[in-house]
Amino acid sequence: MTFPMTDTKLADRSAALSVAMPVLTVAVVLILLPNLFGSNAMISTLNYLGTMAIFALSYNVLLGQTGLLSLGHGTFFGLGGFIATHAVLRFVEADIAFPLALIPLIGGVGSFALGSVGGWLASGRGGMPFAMITLGLAELVAAAATLFPSIYGSEEGVSMDRMDLGSSFGLSYGPNVDIYWVIAVWFAICAGLLFFLSRTPLGLLQNAVRDNAERVEFLGFSARRVRMSAYAIAAGIAGVAGSLAALNVEITTVHALGASTSTLVLLMTYIGGTRHFFGPVLGAIVIGLMKIWLSDISPAWMMYFGLMFIFVVMVAPGGLAGILANGRALVRSAGFAPQSPILAGIAIAGGLSVAGLIIVIELAYRAGLDAAKGAEISVLGLPLNAESGLSWATGGVMLIIGVIALRPLLDRLDGKRHAIAQAGGAK
């Protein structure tokens, strides 16, 4: 047989190229970012996004790669943070000059070890039992944390000073941008490791467990061990992310390992898209930015997260990455031109309903939670009033018209695509 050889060589070359391209892009972006956004506030935003991106990538080892819904991934983010914080405190106490940039390694290894134990407990089955047991473990750790104030601190948490370990690798770790470089390098390492993992036999088996765990058993493998490994690896990387967060803000609270952290990473990962390697990064960036910016201008930001999440679950399970990929494929396809008028109509109707929804939600917040701020409110540039029927009607009518218009447009799009597919088939 000759064809397999040439074939794998070709595959190898294109694989090498398809690996090199993203690696280069990521490296260039990571180096450029702090130069483009130099302000201290922007750097600390970047630091936050970086840790969240690592966190979301780790979560996707479970959700996207192995098909496991963990409701307690925040536990390992928080535990990683505590391990890192205590490591710094101990090293300072013992006067050991451990490089701060390597502290996340300790947090990661510690979380990995704890994740191995947790994984052993949780991995008997997938699906709902897995979700339940991860929820139980997370609640257990969170509830037990309050019993050990010497480890988890009291309400204020445990704090440290990242400069106490002295400088290393030419960084003093005083300015935020020093931490940026630490996070950027760790992001590259973690993303690289996880990308490599997804290309190994173990990564393949994780996909197999996602698709059909029972069949994996009939091929000689233990689905439990595959789940366990995924759980431990995800925990370890989450520990790195948690450590970086601890270095960044210099404080870790019990809050970090609670339900809200677990929820946040689920939202980020799923909204970003679980079927593309960098989908979770996209989700972390979009949700992270929304969290930082939107929370300043709207009390409804959490509501928007929730609605976005439900939208993705119901309409676009591929997440933002899936939407982008589909959109790109569509624009490149021959069928794009004839569809574009309908697509434009859908965009307008969709935009109208979203705008209407935003108006209604903002008004509702002003009428309820934020009533004390007065009825006057400006939404999307419109001066509105939470007590005026006209304001409510504006939002309501926009929403209703948008939704009503969407239905026939979507039907026509379906019809059009059908026709295009048939014409293509006839050729």
């Binding site: 008997g124 480890i151 929730g306 999440f309």
Partner: protein, 319 residues
């Protein structure tokens, strides 16, 4: 611990357990019929409390006792019809994620409308008196009323299951889940009704619990995980199991608060009054742990242990 504390704790345990069962029964029904573990179930409980508060403010508590659950039931039916049913095609993961997102949105919506602080949901005047006095301590009538309502609903539900056509279908599906697929064209309607009734039960629990527990946006998140402990420990899909587990959790949580004991006290009995300093801060943490603090941990220990050693739960047939 005196006899009076024990007596009151027992009554309170049963009461709390029955309240939990009102919630767990709906969750169990929905799970056995539809295979969906509804993460938003506790949210319907919370919505019930808020609806109950709003309605009783306007027309009184007793109308609210009927109207609020009905409203919550309708809401649940709508959620099933326009939400859950559409994500069914994405499998169980899609359904789980949907109810998870729903719980998130409901919590936000409640804050949007009513704000973040607790509502002043009062015990109705007609029931605001002391039912009986034991050992010199009075027991509030409203709590007895809660117990009566919970038991009445339990009885009505049992009757409904035993006597009506839909009840028979539901019961059959509890023991033979594959039967549900043989219902024919009625399936969507049955699903919608079951989801609606389950939500209404949660709503009812919310109305009667609202004045006693605090009506606030975090009440769903506080109760949700406990509900899962109950349905898992009782055995997924088993009503009897849910009943026993509800009472069990009721007792654990009530008594943990009532018992005033620290690890240090135990050591005090054998004459050790100070933690050995050699073991440092961690030991002194353990030294200071009280039963009341351990209370919240126990249900989750139970959950994890159960899932590991007896995944079918106490009464379940399915793992």
């Amino acid at each position: 611990m005196g006899i009076e504390v024990v007596t009151f704790s027992v009554v309170n345990s049963i009461l709390y357990g029955m309240l939990l069962f009102l919630l767990a029964s709906g969750l169990t029904l929905i799970f056995s019929m539809m295979g969906v573990l509804n993460f938003a179930h506790a949210s319907f409980f919370m919505v019930g409390a808020y609806f109950g508060f709003e309605i009783s403010r306007r027309v009184g508590f007793f109308p609210a006792l009927v109207l609020a659950p009905v409203a919550v039931g309708l809401l649940g039916a709508l959620v099933e019809r326009f939400g859950l049913r559409r994500v069914h095609k994405f499998g169980h993961l899609g359904e789980l994620l949907f109810t998870f997102g729903l719980a998130f949105v409901i919590e936000e919506a409640v804050q949007m409308i009513w704000g973040r602080s607790p509502q002043d949901f009062q015990v109705p005047a007609a029931l605001n008196f002391t039912a009986f006095t034991l050992f010199g301590t009075g027991y509030p009538a409203f709590r007895l009323f809660m117990l009566v309502v919970a038991v009445a609903v339990f009885a009505a539900l049992a009757l409904l299951l035993a006597r009506t056509r839909i009840g028979l279908i539901v019961k059959a599906s509890l023991t033979h889940p594959e039967m549900v697929s043989m219902l024919g064209h009625d399936v969507p309607l049955v699903f919608m009704s079951v989801f609606g009734v389950g939500s209404a039960l949660a709503g009812l629990a919310g109305v009667i619990a609202g004045p006693v527990l605090v009506t606030q946006p975090s009440m769903a998140a506080a109760l949700g995980p406990i509900l899962f402990v109950i349905v898992v420990v009782g055995g997924l899909g088993s009503l009897a199991g849910a009943f026993v587990a509800s009472l069990l959790i009721g007792f654990i949580q009530t008594f943990a608060v009532a018992i005033n004991l620290k690890v240090a006290d135990v050591f005090g009995l054998i004459g050790v009054t100070q933690p050995p300093a050699a073991f440092g801060a961690l030991l002194s943490d353990i030294w200071n742990v009280s039963v009341a603090q351990v209370g919240p941990v126990i249900p989750y220990l139970l959950l994890v242990a159960m899932l590991m050693f007896r995944p079918m739960g106490l009464f379940g047939k399915r793992a």
